[in-house]
């Protein structure tokens, strides 16, 4: 089946080549960073995590969101998702790949990565995060592969795979919960020290991931003969709308507690992000962009008339994706470090090499995604019209 990834037209190869070139730029700057140290980035003593860890956090969510297709299809027997579920699983694989790469490029001593395994430390959330992430990668690779192979042969997948499919559901929840625990268990970071953090993570993930999936499904339909199904796309649109409302609601809870309690430490990061603090307003335009995009997306998603027009749906999903990318892939991390433990404001902004390394990792992720989707599309094009029971 793998050979399908290497059979394609001119456009397919041009696309792969383009992604390959972007990855190469990323690798080039990563080598610079490897030699010079992480000082090549905008991070510093006060904001000691930045864009890389933000991307990692955001992408764990995208990976977890595959479950939003698995649950309706396998637990509620929602047949419409039959064809699209594989797109979710393959998206999860590429998202976890990016997560692992982002962790890697963020490490000060990447050659020592095996120390996490050599000295397993159960009291460290990071240890558990690496366990659940690699497990999730393995489960999705297995499930995606086995079900697709069966489809290709025109037979139902073996019974035992059901076990892994069901396992993937709590597992998806676990990867994002554990990732939230990286933050929400730290004693002096007021912005992160919140019990709804994990819930917020899941809600935003279940909005951003499926939104990306809708965009991808629309693209797949445009460029190939594989149709993931109009109704399936509409159903995902509803999921996105619900999840986004939950996310905004949870964010509202954070605002209430921070400002009604009147405890300065709780409000400080929110102030820094949305109006500026001690004269520092670096992130304010970005956070408002995110807010406006979120409102636009919600308005379009909530009215069925708008949502049913696929052009508008795609636009809404794109706005929502960008909005959450800013909010979680950037604001959430930086906000936790500003103000610092001395209540001083030290801003952070990524450097050019840091941005290009980030872009490089995304390019690698999309390279993996394109090849996996190519395989899925080839199989689906051959079996078009045949409905297979999973």
């Amino acid at each position: 089946m793998l050979e399908k990834a290497f059979e394609g037209g001119k456009k397919y190869w041009a696309w792969l080549f383009f992604l390959g070139a972007l990855s190469a730029v990323g690798v080039y700057y990563y080598i610079q960073q490897f030699q010079f140290g992480l000082g090549l980035t905008g991070m510093n003593r006060d904001v000691s995590w930045g864009l890389y860890i933000g991307q990692f956090t955001f992408l764990v969510g995208v990976a977890a969101s595959a479950v939003m297709l698995v649950i309706p299809y396998y637990l509620h027997d929602f047949k419409k998702f039959g064809k699209i579920v594989i797109l979710g699983e393959f998206l999860a694989i590429s998202a976890v790949t990016m997560c692992i790469l982002f962790i890697f490029v963020d490490m000060g001593q990447p050659m020592r990565i095996m120390n996490v395994i050599l000295h397993p430390t159960p009291n460290s959330v990071m240890f558990w995060d690496s366990v659940v992430l690699s497990g999730y990668l393995a489960i999705n690779a297995l499930v995606g592969w086995v079900t697709l192979s069966a489809d290709r042969k025109g037979v139902p997948p073996p019974k035992w795979i059901k076990f892994f499919i069901y396992l993937s559901i709590p597992w998806a929840v676990s990867i994002h919960t554990v990732t939230a625990f990286l933050y929400s268990g730290l004693p002096a970071r007021h912005f992160w020290l919140s019990a709804v953090m994990a819930a917020r993570f899941l809600a935003s993930a279940f909005a951003a991931g499926p939104a990306l999936l809708i965009i991808l499904a629309l693209i797949v339909r445009k460029i190939s003969k594989f149709d993931p199904g109009k109704e399936a796309i509409q159903a995902i649109g509803k999921i996105v709308a619900y999840a986004m409302f939950a996310n905004v609601f949870l964010l509202g809870l954070e605002f209430f507690t921070a400002f009604y309690s009147g405890i300065p430490g709780h409000a400080a990061s929110f102030l820094y992000l949305y109006v500026g603090l001690e004269g520092h307003t670096e992130l304010v335009p970005l956070m408002w962009t995110s807010t406006i995009l979120a409102i636009v997306a919600l308005l379009l998603l909530v009215f069925p008339a708008a949502r049913k027009k696929e052009g508008l749906l795609a636009f809404a999903c794109l706005s929502l994706f960008i909005s959450l990318w800013i909010d979680k892939g950037f604001g959430l991390i930086i906000g936790g470090f500003v103000p610092n433990p001395f209540e001083e404001v030290h801003p952070y902004w990524p450097t050019m090499p840091e941005a290009l390394i980030t872009l490089g990792v995304w390019a690698i992720g999309f390279l993996v995604l394109s090849m996996l989707y190519k395989i899925a599309i080839s199989v689906r094009e051959r079996t078009a019209g045949i409905e297979i029971e999973h």
Partner: protein
């Protein structure tokens, strides 16, 4: 003095963490052969030991900026802490590494300031360093145990195991930890470099060690040694006769962010009368 294998390994481990290869008797170059014993080391009979090391700081005894600078310089020179500077001579915040430094009262004890408090206290600089917490978040989060507790209460750092993930920096409520954003050796003045203490590599986290390497040789921490008389005390807080214990028992001392449950072992005397 006899010692069991575990104890030996501990001490040898600590010595090698600190790069004191020399204190391990004649390491052999043979990798291993049957019957070969690991190199043996006797604990230094002059070494200082304690059940729980702690520090007391009385800022009222620091009279001038010079007094404070002496203390921070003593630490930073003893431990080869790099000094990154901008071309105009100011500290390069981007690469900055510090083990001990000064902060104003309001920054040291956030939320403790009030509008009417004496200008004297408000403007008073406080020196800050790692608190060697009883229940340190940095140790809790480290995925490799590169930062860990010693039985005497010191929070240590293994520069050879650290993977540079910086989780500990996010976790420390006191901003006590620094990361080597680039090769620190570039910013160590060769003229003042302490050849007896290891330099670090890029990509690892470092911080105050309560001078573990000096305690082993019977010396008190470098900062305490350089401080004006009565300004800094170091000792075993579990020992009722120690200076630190007497001060903490008899005077009003405060610790940084005690509400977090970390149990800092650095106490600040407020009021500043004469001690013990």
């Amino acid at each position: 003095m006899s010692m069991d294998r575990r104890q030996f390994l501990k001490i040898a481990g600590i010595s090698s963490i600190l790069g004191f290869g020399a204190s391990v008797a004649s390491a052999t170059h043979t990798i291993w052969e049957p019957g070969l014993k690991p190199p043996q080391v006797e604990p230094n009979p002059d070494g200082l030991i304690a059940k729980r090391w702690a520090m007391v700081v009385d800022m009222s005894k620091f009279k001038t900026d010079e007094d404070i600078k002496k203390v921070t310089t003593a630490c930073h020179q003893t431990h080869n802490v790099p000094d990154f500077r901008n071309p105009d001579g100011t500290v390069d915040k981007k690469f900055e590494i510090k083990w001990i430094w000064e902060e104003p009262f309001g920054r040291t004890f956030p939320g403790s300031e009030n509008k009417f408090m004496s200008e004297h206290i408000k403007d008073m600089p406080f020196i800050v360093l790692c608190n060697h917490c009883d229940n340190p978040p940095c140790v809790r989060v480290c995925p490799t145990q590169a930062t860990f507790k010693l039985p005497n209460g010191i929070t240590m750092q293994d520069m050879h195991r650290c993977i540079g993930c910086r989780f500990c920096m996010a976790a420390c409520p006191y901003g006590a930890r620094s990361f080597n954003w680039t090769d620190p050796r570039k910013a160590i003045n060769p003229a003042t470099e302490n050849k007896a203490y290891p330099t670090r590599t890029k990509g690892v986290v470092e911080k105050c060690t309560f001078c573990t390497e000096r305690l082993q040789f019977g010396k008190i921490p470098a900062c305490v040694e350089a401080a004006p008389k009565g300004a800094m005390f170091f000792g075993d807080i579990e020992d009722p006769n120690s200076e630190v214990r007497k001060i903490v028992t008899s005077q009003l001392t405060i610790r940084r962010k005690p509400e977090l449950g970390t149990g800092p072992a650095v106490y600040y005397v407020i009021g500043g009368s004469d001690h013990a």
